[in-house]
């Protein structure tokens, strides 16, 4: 008798568990009050509220462009490293109102802050957010198969997301045009010259990881330097931490250094180990400017970055007035009057007080 009771009880509980399981499975999450469908950089389609008002810019590459397009007061917060950057408060005082996010902010925090859109470089993060009903788009500094199709992605995205906000479309188009102008000039000039291909090694200096820290295939960097007719060595190493041996073997013709630590890293290249590298011998070592973030990370100052690199890599062919370009951009997009001195500091990778930021 007890055996029968036991079997029946077990069957009932198991059935309940399986039934409960199926019930829970069927529970799909409520879709937010959404109105348009956009496609993110990984090709995923997401329904997003039109004209979002509380955007979390976890992806660093999104912040300054959105601010530039006049959307600063629609941003809720940004990844903390951007707010820690000394130039951010100079170029955009409104940043003090923005919340400082961790790399993977908790969902409850986002809900509490009424965030209606998250821009993140991490698929794992966006997937989780979407499952919990928080719209999230993948925006990153790496593109598939390379970055070329995504150069105007964020500008176009801004136009799509904020069709009813004044000035966004105009500013986005203006920015696109500015970048395109420089790009076309660079391309056409280099075409006529048919220079032999030289190699460039990019040293990434947003952290102090020594000379052996670079950017890899599919990056925005790779795209820019390939447009400049250079062989971007980061693509060939297969890792973003090449060993000293590998760099010496590759013997770059040019070396460029970006990020807050660029001055320290420039000093490292004076060590004897690097003596025989082509770039060191010929003195073709150049540093990259810093804005809201290092200029080699796609952002509002990308046209200036391209122009600046063109000037430095091909001094006989390009003579862009990058200081004026920078001042004009700051005026147009941020309403900030940058002094010549300040512009110079930015291009030189210094902080607002004229000293290195790290």
């Amino acid at each position: 008798m007890s055996k029968i009771v036991a079997i029946v009880t077990t069957a009932v509980v198991l059935a309940a568990a399986v039934g409960g399981g199926i019930y829970f499975w069927q529970q799909s999450n409520s879709t937010s009050d959404s109105e348009i469908t956009v496609t993110d950089m990984l090709g995923e389609e997401v329904r997003v509220k039109k004209n979002p008002e509380h955007v979390a810019c976890v992806s660093r590459t999104t912040y300054d462009l959105l601010v530039a397009f006049g959307l600063g007061d629609r941003i809720d917060g940004v990844y903390k490293s951007l707010l820690e950057n000394e130039w951010t408060s100079v170029l955009y005082p409104g940043s003090s109102n923005h919340f400082s996010y961790d790399y993977e902010p908790s969902h409850e925090l986002l809900i509490q802050r009424n965030v209606d859109l998250v821009l993140s470089p991490e698929k794992y993060v966006t997937d989780g957010l979407k499952e919990h009903g928080i719209p999230a788009l993948n925006v990153s500094l790496y593109g598939n198969p390379n970055f070329e199709p995504y150069v105007y992605f964020l500008a176009d995205l801004a136009k799509k997301l904020w069709p009813d906000v004044d000035g966004v479309a105009e500013k986005a188009d203006a920015w696109k045009a500015e970048f395109k102008t420089v790009l076309d000039e660079v391309n056409s000039t280099l075409e006529t010259k048919s220079y032999p291909e030289k190699s460039v090694y990019y040293v990434r200096g947003d952290k102090n990881n020594g000379i052996g820290y670079t950017d890899t295939r599919k990056s925005f960097n790779e795209y820019v330097f390939s447009q400049l007719g250079m062989n971007f060595l980061g693509s060939t190493f297969g890792t973003n931490k090449p060993s000293t041996d590998a760099i010496l073997d590759a013997n770059p013709d040019y070396i460029v250094i970006g990020g807050n630590y660029q001055h320290t890293l420039r000093g490292l290249l004076d060590q004897s180990i690097w003596e025989n590298v082509e770039a060191v011998k010929t003195g073709h070592i150049y540093r990259i400017g810093v804005g809201f973030s290092p200029m080699e990370q796609m952002g509002v100052f990308t046209p200036v970055f391209l122009a600046d690199m063109a000037n430095k890599l091909y001094p006989s062919d390009f003579h862009y007035d990058t200081v004026t370009m920078l001042k004009n951009m700051c005026q147009t997009y941020f309403g900030i009057t940058l002094t010549t001195e300040q512009a110079g500091y930015m291009l030189d990778g210094m902080g607002p007080d004229g000293t290195p930021m790290a």
């Binding site: 007890s2 055996k3 036991a6 079997i7």
Partner: protein
Amino acid sequence: MKAIELEDVTFSYGKGKRKVLDGVGLSCEPGTVNALIGLNGCGKTTLIKVMAGLEKPLVGTVRYYGRDLSELTFRERASVLAYVRQNYGSLSDYSVKDYLLFGTANKLDLFDVPGKGEKEAVREIVMRFGITHLYDKKLGELSGGERQIVSICSAMVQDSKVVLLDEPCSALDIVNQNKVLTILNSIAKDSEKTILFSTHNPNHALYTEANVFLLGSGKIIDSGPAEEIITPDRLKPIYGEGICYSKDQPYNEISFARR
């Protein structure tokens, strides 16, 4: 009908390894005490394990009341035989009470937990064997002799027809050996169970008036009632030339009075 019957049992611990048991044959009548005698390492433990179904013989059959052991389910085997072994270090934090109840497993259904009936049966056995004072202790707190008696009680709880014991007295002092052997005797007398225990001390067989099986070179080389077998002549093939009666010794050997 023989309680236990072995025919031509052969066993080795691996292919091509030495045959520990080589054609063992023996039979036991119901309700008897039987002693398996042999030197250390002669295969007593192995034989008992084969008889308990813990090892499979290469050749030969093991039968209980005419039924082949290999054809019985585990449950059926547990009703037929109980196996008492020497030590259980890793079980020391079980209580005696719980451990004895484990012997009721073959009587309970799959989803059952021991109830009043089972606990009563255990209490009875505990009283019968005089270990009530140990009931609430943990196995690890018991002395060697107490442990052995608890093991035997567990086998009794199982209420099987046959009880196999692997060297039950080897680790005990004379007082406790006496206790255990006395218990074995009483079990056979009172409950018609068939007992088979192994030992390397021939005196144990005398003490229990057992049927003796001598194990040597992997075979049963001699068998019979203890009073006939436990003599220097019959034991020489196993124990060698030095075996003799204690009265032939220059000193008075000490034994323990049978109750």
